[in-house]
Amino acid sequence: MTTFFPPIIQAGPQGAGFAVSQRHGVVTGFYHFSPVGGDQLVVNVIMFRNARSIGADAIAIADAATSYTPFTVRVNYFSDEVPDACIIKMSIISPVTGCDAHQGSTMLVDDLSFSAVVSVGENKSVQSSLPEQFVLEQNYPNPFLSGAKSPALSGGNPETEIRFRIPEANHVVVRIFNTLGEEIRMLADAPFEAGYHSVRWDGKAENGQAVASGVYLCQLRAGRFMEVKKMSLLR
């Protein structure tokens, strides 16, 4: 039996990142990319302080590049803190299935670097004032690895963070569905103050059982607002 694995690489000997001591604002690098079936090369950067994410961003590259081409990921900080660790993750995913890529998709990556240090307040999401509209952000990381099948992936992200913004106090319901429309897990069902919030999902159903790899839908309801984001879970 042939086993297929997507190419995933994550900074740190155990994929847990590396130490930093400054508010690095930009990660740059160079890539080649030969996508198959609309696959995308995804580069995620996340900054941590005391194991808590304080800044992140990602890019998804869809266009083929047959010579080395520069890429830039600009870190958006949502805290004034200085990070103490950084995780960089690169992978090829299919935006159609939300997870595993098509056979033959190939990337080359070289010469990563930090190219800017930002002061407190720079690269910071505007969170000093209340949000102006309801927003359900894409979960991070996505895809996320939970109890991975591959031993090499077992150090992956055990959970994913789902952020949302509400401009006024409201009762918020955040639920996870599978692609059949069946509810898998209720992550929030409570009143929330206006502002920026987040919930986390560990890849488990309501009964505590780990769910299978695949695409799941995260639904946010707050009053009359409703939005859905697609998430990918890899095991």
Binding site: F5, P6, I8, Q10, A11, V27, A152
Partner: protein, 70 residues
């Protein structure tokens, strides 16, 4: 005297800068051990599937990282 002070100050600033700038470990993917890039974790399961490998098609240096959906 002024020139000497200038060079000492310049040297101090250069050392301070190099100490304060954290670097991405093995950012050019030049160091590899047993088929794995040092300081990175890959989805390779040696002997089963190895989607991440060393490539000599580099942007600079000798090597780059190659990832293929096998």
């Amino acid at each position: 005297m002024n020139t000497r002070f200038f060079f000492v100050a310049l040297l101090f600033l250069l050392v301070l800068r190099s100490v304060s700038e954290a670097q991405i470990p093995n950012a050019g993917f030049e160091q590899w051990t047993a088929g794995e890039p040092d300081s990175w974790k890959t989805s390779n399961a040696q002997g089963v599937a190895v989607p991440v490998t060393q490539s000599t098609m580099s942007h600079s240096g000798l090597f780059a990282l190659r990832g293929v959906r096998s």
